[in-house]
Amino acid sequence: MPRNWPIPLVLLGLLLVFPPIASATGLEFYTGLVTKIMIFALAASSLNLILGYGGMVSFGHAAYFGVGAYAAAILAREGVSSAWVIWPVAMVLSGLLAFLIGAICLRTRGVYFIMITLAFAQMIYFLVVSFKQYGGEDGLRARRPDFGLFELSDTTLYYLTLAVLTAVLYALYRLVNSRFGRVLQAIRENESRAATIGYPVYQFQLAAFVIAGVLAGLAGVLMAHYTQYASPNLLAWQQSGHLMMMVILGGVGQFWGGVLGAATLLIVEEILQDLTIYWQLGVGLILLLIVLFAPMGIAGLFGRRAR
């Protein structure tokens, strides 16, 4: 960050003044879109921590995202209205889930790790879908909770998401540059060497896995607040793929990869959706071109130019 530090600050400033400008020009719709982008940026950044820095290709990240959303929705349905209860419970739940799944999956490697994380995510998906009293395949309506300090409108949710995203990114930045982050990357580069030096590889990986799970759960809670709805689609494997796409698009293991990827993908989708009903064709073509010609993702493109 030392050389590029003004960019995030400028971006933060722009984001701070965005909602009043948008509502003054009658474009409130886009406040919602930016909220959604920030939520996905959070989720993608959490995936980037394990995928990019930890080298753990989890194909089941949607599970924690969805469980966070469902925890918020189910608690709201059961009459818990305080966000001060909902948030911690949802985060602890998704963290716990990440701990259980991670503890089992991290014993496997490579393709098998990909498949077994997918398998667990699918189990969670079908489990949630089977609970008809919580909406089943139709999803569950989730009333916005009570924060006590302010009412959660579209605008306050925007600022809340912005604050959470800023805080999390700052924490992640500190984390990946800490001893923990460096060990994690060392494990990614050469696992057996890290083990020989004496680092407990498994514990480090599991810790990162749980942190990522908690953050994805947090993003899920915000998502439930945003759409006021928890959908099983949040848990589906396509959602895991979507998140993975964002990370790869933005740049695997690049600090801003998750944010850049989420913003690019969602904005491109939005623009193409306006232009044509065959918008997925455009998304597909862009993705394909990026893989073939910009293997380091968008952040990689910037990085190369800066060098």
């Binding site: 290709v57 496997t108 098998y112 498949m115 077994i116 398998a119 609970f131 293997p295």
Partner: protein, 297 residues
């Protein structure tokens, strides 16, 4: 039970191509399901044009194989040396592209593909037990193709190259196996198998955009259970998954309805059946991390 075998055999056709591509080329191809979809659409189209089911299927199989080889030649070939992540993203992009192209060509309404006239009725396989003639045909076709594939892999020179490639690619290349054309051919075979599955599942399910994705995940489960790169593993895995899935769907709701209301039973039943498949995979991986029949040593 027969339904499970029938579904399992069709899964096998998909998984066989996938496992060979995965095992030999070390390439995760998510777009494999799209070839299955293309196969089904081409079958529906050709059957419509020619009016003869079997001719339509034949044309569709050839067409899909050509499309598959074209894909390999133009795009996928670039991805062999890249990491799995890039392959996942690129082939995911291909899914999106192919889905939309199919939607542009054929529209977003599902196509209707009917079983051939002579096979649309029931057949009495045991006294008092009727079974759909078409599903019986599917089982037959699946068995014949599976046997053909085994003969190809175990008893021909191409098969030997394939097995060599699956167990050690560098060595095989060094021994003079023509890798590039072999890969293209292999991809064509995989695509043809997809097309057969698509052609025969089309009349039972519906020919629609997105039909490839749901079955793709199952095919991946199959090859992971069976062991990546092993055709025998794919067959065993496919039959296991097919039977567990169908039996779970048929009997779990019945079992549950003994203890709960029909609504609850029908909620939990299919969900449990779906979970069962993944549980099966997790258990297999736990005890045999390389799958049941590991191809690579």
């Amino acid at each position: 039970m027969l339904n499970g075998v029938q579904f399992g055999l069709m899964l096998f056709l998909l998984a066989a191509g996938l496992t060979l591509v995965f095992g030999i080329m070390d390439m995760i191809n998510l777009a494999h399901g799209s070839l299955y979809m293309i196969g089904a659409y081409l079958t529906a189209t050709f059957v419509g044009i020619t009016g003869v089911f079997w001719l339509g299927v034949l044309l569709a199989v050839v067409g899909t194989a050509l499309i598959g080889m074209l894909l390999e030649f133009s795009i996928l070939r670039q991805l062999y040396r890249r990491d799995h992540l890039s392959q996942v993203l690129a082939t995911f992009a291909l899914i999106l592209i192919i889905n939309e192209v199919v939607r542009i060509i054929w529209g977003s309404q599902p196509l209707l593909l009917s079983a051939p006239e002579g096979l649309s009725g029931p057949i009495e396989i045991l006294p008092g037990l009727n079974y759909s003639a078409f599903r019986l045909t599917i089982i037959g076709v699946g068995l014949v193709v599976a046997m053909g594939l085994f003969l190809l892999v175990n008893n021909t020179r191409v098969g030997m190259w394939l097995r060599a490639g699956a167990s050690n690619r560098e060595m095989a290349q060094a021994m003079g196996v023509p890798i590039k054309p072999l890969f293209t051919l292999l991809f064509g075979v995989g695509a043809a198998l997809c097309a057969i599955a698509g052609a025969f599942l089309g009349p039972i399910l519906a020919v629609q955009v997105g039909m490839g994705e749901s079955i793709l995940i199952l095919a991946f489960v199959v090859i992971v259970i069976g062991g990546i790169g092993s055709v025998k593993g794919a067959l065993v895995g496919a039959l296991l998954v097919g039977i567990v899935d169908t039996a779970g769907r048929a009997f779990l709701p019945l079992l549950l309805s003994q203890v709960a209301s029909p609504e609850v039973a029908s909620n939990l039943g299919p969900a449990l059946a779906s979970i069962l498949i993944y549980l099966l995979m997790a258990v297999v991986l736990f005890f045999k991390p390389q799958g049941l029949f590991p191809a690579r040593t």
